[in-house]
Amino acid sequence: MTEAKKPKKEIKPVKNPMPAQDALVRAKNFSEVATGYTQETVIDEAKRCLQCRKEPCRQGCPVEVDIPAFIGLVAEGDFTGAISKIKEKNALPAVCGRVCPQEAQCEKYCTLGKKHDPVGIGRIERFCADWELATGVKVPEVAPPTGKRVAIVGSGPGGLTCAADLAKLGHKVVMFEALHVAGGVLMYGIPEFRLPKAVVQAEVENLRKIGVEIEVNSVVGKFTTVDALMEEQGFDAVYIGTGAGLPYFMNIPGENACGVYSANEFLTRTNLMKAYQFPDCDTPIKLGKKVAVLGGGNVAMDSARTALRLGAEESYIVYRRSHEELPARKEEAEHAEEEGVKFAFLTSPTEIVQNEDGWVTGMKCLKYELGEPDASGRRRPVAIEGSEFLMDIDTVVVAIGQGPNPLVPRTTKGLELTKRGNIVADEKAATSKPGVYAGGDVVTGAATVILAMGAGRTAANSIHEYLSSK
């Protein structure tokens, strides 16, 4: 058991609530849902922390942010001290404070959480990061140039972290990104209302300030290869952080009908291409009145909530299992429900029905029940015979997962891959190819922002070691 440092003090049992836009108002706009703590609330929340000596919360954070220390500084009103403390371990706190699944990570292990609400660690972290962005970010010190060059392929959270760490160590870092902006899923996937794009771009700007060169519009595997980067273009090491961008489909009849999108297309059109500002922005999106989103993760929640904001009258999450098994962040599922997203649990489609012009007019589904637990420990959904019914919908968004994009794996010689096409990397992020490191979703399969960042940091340490010994 962990003990508190100080003698008993009065504990406020509930977390300070996160101020948010009213559910019915926000369901119609793309501005950020959670508006953030004020200075008073953040100090009040920080004071709930018991400063446990054994720091159980830290073991839940994949990058081991010194949580008691930064929260202690916030309690004293020292936000500058707090953000420096966070940044020792976490390069993108404004992002993590917003999107980490805290209930499964840091806050899961908080001592307070045993009897009461855990400390709002993510919310405090977010406040500190926003405070820094508003008051001016201190550019970190950069070591003298080492003369070594590292290429980073993919600019998601893993690539951004790896680039920042290596640049600070004095290495020349060039980042190649396929799309026209850096940020990966943070830019094209996670919606503006959950993670404002300006926050992500501020972090990208900070990288430029410490000398990282960012080459957008650069698809590695097409204009060049990993091998050519090392052999012809003089890079001493490469980090591959290309993510899991290949959308899976259900492989049911009707999936190529007009009105069926992958979540990636639906969210990319809306976020990256700003289709919600059409026609002031040129990229269109088209949806009907009743949208069905297939899946139960963050991607599905984001799609269902985006559909409402784009004007859908009804937006459904269609999920094979039950509420309990929803893999989404708890707060996202709650927000979705508050905004009016409807849930069709224990339901899975068998066919998308279309009219003679090829447009979706409905979806044939089966009802499911939960059977024995499967390998993942979750109870396996089993179809109920004869339970087929027709769902009255006119747009479908498929959000059942993504695999690794094969462009880089396919064009890199001697890179060991798993059966599913993920890159094999050891605990030091080293691949089977000397000098080539990999991390994030392309290694683990679709996971989380903070895990990708953790991998980016591990890779940076390994690359530094590798370059120093060369």
Partner: protein
């Protein structure tokens, strides 16, 4: 930013631009395409690489103005900059020395993407017969370049206003009949969907292998969104990474054309919105 170095106007709606894009020019092959975005609010649109100069680091694109982005692109001048220009994308054309005569068919703006493929096929030692066609003579371009790229060139116009009257399929049929279908190992056709479909219908009768380049709607062009999916022999493929070239006899043309119309009403709205911005009919290019 990618600078426009040269511009040619072939007709009021068909234009050529030479763009400075050294990274693309260094590595591209015929059959591949680029995606560009004119400005910050712009849409990403795919255009085929019609020519390239590795030394000068340039890419040539030829396009037809059909909607907002292509119209705005047509209004850009030498010295202007295109915001984003990414490539090469897609798989290159399959080039080898075939037994017999290869026929390449370019319809309308499709003459441009056919050109580098014809040139490569001829350089690989093939006897290449080219057929180019358009609605009328004033829409025709690159006749000289195609004459150089092919061993022999035939020209046709729908209305007979230039050389001969007829469709490219009429000429193709004559060639197949004259040479014998067994002596034509490959037909490659690029142009508007109805034209490619007509070519495929014809060659299917003769059992002559036909490759087409599909112009599905795209967003990223890297296999990330699935917008460009098509059914090829019953299996779903992504045009941007698995294509753009496919065996034309395996393509589900019906589905392709329906998916191509998904955003039609929105595209019209974009066009109207864009024209009315200044009201003078300039098109309001930013």
């Amino acid at each position: 930013m990618y600078k426009i170095l040269e511009k040619q106007v072939f007709s009021p709606i068909i234009k050529e631009l030479v763009v400075e894009a050294p990274k693309v020019a260094k590595s591209c092959k015929s059959g591949q395409f680029i995606i560009l975005r004119i400005h910050e609010e712009g849409e990403r649109i795919p255009l085929t690489i019609a020519d390239y100069d590795r030394e000068k680091g340039t890419i040539t694109i030829v396009f037809q103005e059909v909607g907002k982005t292509t119209t705005q692109l047509g209004q850009m001048e030498v010295g202007d900059y295109i915001k984003d220009f990414v490539g090469p994308l897609g798989e290159p054309s399959h080039i080898e020395k075939f037994d017999g005569t290869v026929v390449v068919v370019g319809g309308g703006v499709g003459i441009a993407p056919v050109h580098p493929i014809a040139r490569d096929l001829k350089e690989a030692g093939n006897n290449v017969i080219g057929i180019i066609g358009s609605r009328s003579g004033d829409l025709l371009f690159w006749e000289d370049k195609m004459r150089d790229a092919c061993s022999e060139l035939q020209v046709t116009t729908d209305d007979g206003s230039y050389v001969r009257k007829g469709f490219v399929t009429d000429v193709l049929k004559e060639i197949i009949e004259a040479k014998g279908k067994e002596n034509i190992p490959l037909v490659l056709a690029i142009g508007p969907q109805p034209m490619m479909r007509a070519v495929c219908n014809l060659t299917k009768e003769y059992g002559v292998k036909t490759v087409v380049s599909l112009n599905a709607t795209m967003v990223d062009g890297t296999g990330m969104c699935g917008c460009c999916r098509v059914s090829i022999a019953g299996a779903t493929k992504f045009v941007c990474v698995d294509g753009p070239e496919f065996d034309g006899h395996d393509v589900d043309w019906f589905e392709l054309s329906r998916r191509g119309g998904i955003f039609r009403d929105k595209e019209q709205k974009a066009m109207e919105h864009h024209v009315c911005k200044c009201g003078s009919g300039c098109g309001g290019a930013k």
